[in-house]
């Protein structure tokens, strides 16, 4: 029981989530923006990311409460803080963590200087965790049921998933015309660990009874699927490190997915983009173990049988027979969280220097303003975010993007991204929720990305 309470607290204290990369999206001086839209207007002769340093991102979000609410060193009793968190949040509040590290990433242009088709490819490792606040279960663990006669405790509040996987991808994008760029990216997922328990339902309640003091009913439909853990639970004698490496290199539970996207210029200074990424699934068939509690039990208590005498009924056994713990080894499929991004942008200001002999040169704008929409599928309601942004070319080699984002974690999320390209070296750093850096412990969400690339720019001339 104590463990259960700890796990609940842990779930509650970790829950943060959002894979919204609002700064990176359409930030085309960074090649990694191709991962948020395979049809991004990114041009290069060729590029490669510095291995392990080309893309590092971490993203933590918790709606409803912050680390400070729970762990502040302020003299208030921890249990008081925990109660406040449990009772001030709802079952919709969630904790989400996402982390990505690129192992390698590169790209090249296909064909000669007149061609407008590009290949990009790479591999990254990703960790995802999402948990909803298990509110009713937390209330029961804290208070029991005495003061909640008539309340229906919802077992569907148990909703969490986590995954560690590696992703191999190859993308292709092409300027179909001056106005339209389309792109597609194929992905192979190799799942290292997966745990998912997102389809639960059931309830239990206690009410005043007619023929006994209480009517107590529990109806349970709980399933927890796991894959990739099995070898480590019992007498594991192998080498975990080499095992995990193997799973990363396509030795895990495999899946397939794809991204599609486009960039469209209805006018030279107006740009529309849209993408859908991670339309894909993973088939879990290796090291699969699922646990389920399914059944219905009405608890009436002991019922002595004076006629037969010594009836010897066993309540614990009755309960276990009614709602048995089943351990299964059946394959299951998980769907990747599908992400939708879209933006509209208006550009202004002539970015060409006054000394430039501009005839024939492509117009380059200094400033852009725009709006972005992000949506992602989750086990319950889709996660949505709306971003307004301003992009500016500060120098030829320095570009900035500032964002203001509204989502369920925060209504005052200001982010800033900088990308500098000196010679062929591109460095970028993106961070959001800058206001929260005054006190990160009170932040409801933070995200952070940086990376290093070598880019050989696109050539529009034969020499």
């Amino acid at each position: 029981m104590r463990k259960a309470v700890l796990i609940i607290v842990l779930l509650v204290s970790i829950s943060c989530f959002s894979q919204n990369k609002q700064i990176l999206y359409n930030f085309t001086s960074v090649p990694q923006s191709l991962l948020t839209n395979p049809g991004s207007d990114v041009k290069y002769q060729w590029y490669f990311g510095v291995p392990l340093l080309s893309g590092i991102s971490a993203n933590v979000g918790s709606s409803g409460f912050s680390a400070y609410d729970l762990f502040a060193d302020n003299g208030v009793d921890f249990n008081t803080k925990l109660r406040n968190v449990v009772f001030s949040t709802s079952r919709k509040d969630k904790l989400a963590i996402n982390e990505q590290i690129e192992f390698f990433n590169g790209g090249f242009k296909i064909g000669d200087w007149q061609s407008n088709a590009y290949i990009s490819f790479g591999m990254y490792q990703e960790m995802d965790f999402l948990a909803y606040m298990p509110k009713d279960i937390a209330i029961f663990a804290l208070d029991g049921n005495r003061d909640y006669l008539g309340k229906v405790f919802d077992l569907g509040d148990l909703n969490a998933k986590g995954e560690l996987l590696s992703v191999f991808h190859v993308g292709y994008h092409k300027n179909i015309s001056d106005k339209l760029i389309v792109g597609v990216r194929g992905k192979i997922y190799s799942s290292i660990f997966n745990i998912s328990s997102t389809q639960n339902s059931g309830y239990f309640y206690t009410i005043q009874g007619a023929n006994s003091i209480y009517d107590q009913i529990i109806s349970s439909n709980i399933t927890v699927n796991t894959s990739g853990f099995l070898n480590y639970t019992n007498n594991y004698s192998g080498n975990a490190k080499s095992d995990i490496t193997k799973k990363m290199l396509l030795g895990g539970n495999l899946g397939l997915g794809f991204d599609v996207g486009l960039t469209y210029y209805p006018k030279k200074n107006v740009q529309f983009t849209a993408s859908i990424t991670d339309i894909g699934f993973i088939k879990h068939s290796k090291e699969v173990e699922s646990y389920s509690y399914k059944g219905y039990y009405k608890y009436v208590g002991l019922t002595p049988d004076f006629i037969g005498g010594n009836s010897n009924n066993n309540l614990l056994q009755d309960f276990q027979d009614a709602i048995p713990l089943d351990t299964l080894h059946t394959k299951y499929t998980t769907w990747r969280p599908v992400k939708l991004n879209s933006s509209i942008q208006y550009s202004f200001g002539d970015g060409r220097g006054s000394t430039c002999n501009c005839t024939g040169n492509e117009m380059k704008y200094t400033n852009s303003v725009g709006a972005q929409l992000f949506a992602m599928s989750t086990p319950r309601m889709p996660f949505m975010a709306l971003t307004a942004y301003y992009r500016r070319q500060i120098f030829d080699s320095l570009e900035m993007k500032a964002t203001y984002t509204l989502d369920s974690f925060s209504a005052k999320n200001i982010g800033l991204g900088l990308s500098t390209t000196v010679g062929k070296v591109n460095f970028y750093i993106l961070a959001d929720n800058l206001l929260e850096y005054q006190d990160v412990s009170k932040a409801n969400s933070l995200s952070f990305q940086l990376g290093l690339n070598i880019i050989f720019p696109n050539k529009n001339t034969p020499y």
């Binding site: 029981m1 607290v9 502040a72 804290l142 006669l149 003091i213 002991l302 940086l450």
Partner: protein
């Protein structure tokens, strides 16, 4: 222009602050749930006390009751209230004994009720027994509960006598989890 990046990166790391957080507070975690549930229920109609015209005076049944065998529950339990309510609508008086027995069928604790014969408008016999400290330990060592119903002498019953002897009971369990 690398300066800009440098300044930006540095400022994120240098100017970011955090209130003191103390994650060791998790060790103070303590929850005190109070759980209510049924304990036992029976309803004996008057005619069961008569077989082939002969009155049966004593009924007995023992039931396995091994929730205390669970060490976690045993350790976390700090108090138990047992509530009983007996409604007798039979025109005879009874004694009901509830015995808590250990694994060797030795009596550890007994709760007895004197149930008067039915009269119109009488209240049910109710009792709450609180188990704490040493008394709670007796309960924790119990593995069985036995019920004994003894009918006292009085007006003879027949197989068509009306009424029943009904017992309902509940447990209120106080746990401290830490």
């Amino acid at each position: 222009m690398n300066k800009f990046i440098g300044i930006f990166s540095l400022s994120i790391f240098l100017f970011s602050c955090s209130s003191n957080l103390d994650f060791n507070q998790v060790n103070d975690l303590k929850s005190e749930p109070v759980i209510v549930s049924n304990l036992a229920t029976f309803d004996l109609p008057a005619n069961q006390f008569v077989t082939n015209g002969i009155e049966q005076y004593v009924f007995f049944d023992s039931q396995t009751f091994d929730v205390f065998r669970d060490s976690f529950f045993n350790k976390s339990l700090v108090r138990t209230d047992l509530f009983f309510e007996i409604t007798n609508t039979i025109n005879r008086a009874y004694i009901i004994d509830v015995y808590f027995l250990n694994g060797n069928n030795s009596k550890l604790y007994t709760i007895s009720f004197n149930v008067p014969a039915y009269t119109i408008g009488q209240n049910p016999v109710a009792k709450t027994e609180i188990f704490e400290n040493a008394k709670l330990d007796l309960l924790k060592n119990s593995r069985k509960i036995a019920f004994k119903v003894t009918m006292l002498p009085g007006t003879a019953l027949t197989e068509s006598s009306p009424g029943s002897l009904k017992l309902i009971s509940s447990a209120t369990v106080y746990l401290v989890l830490q």
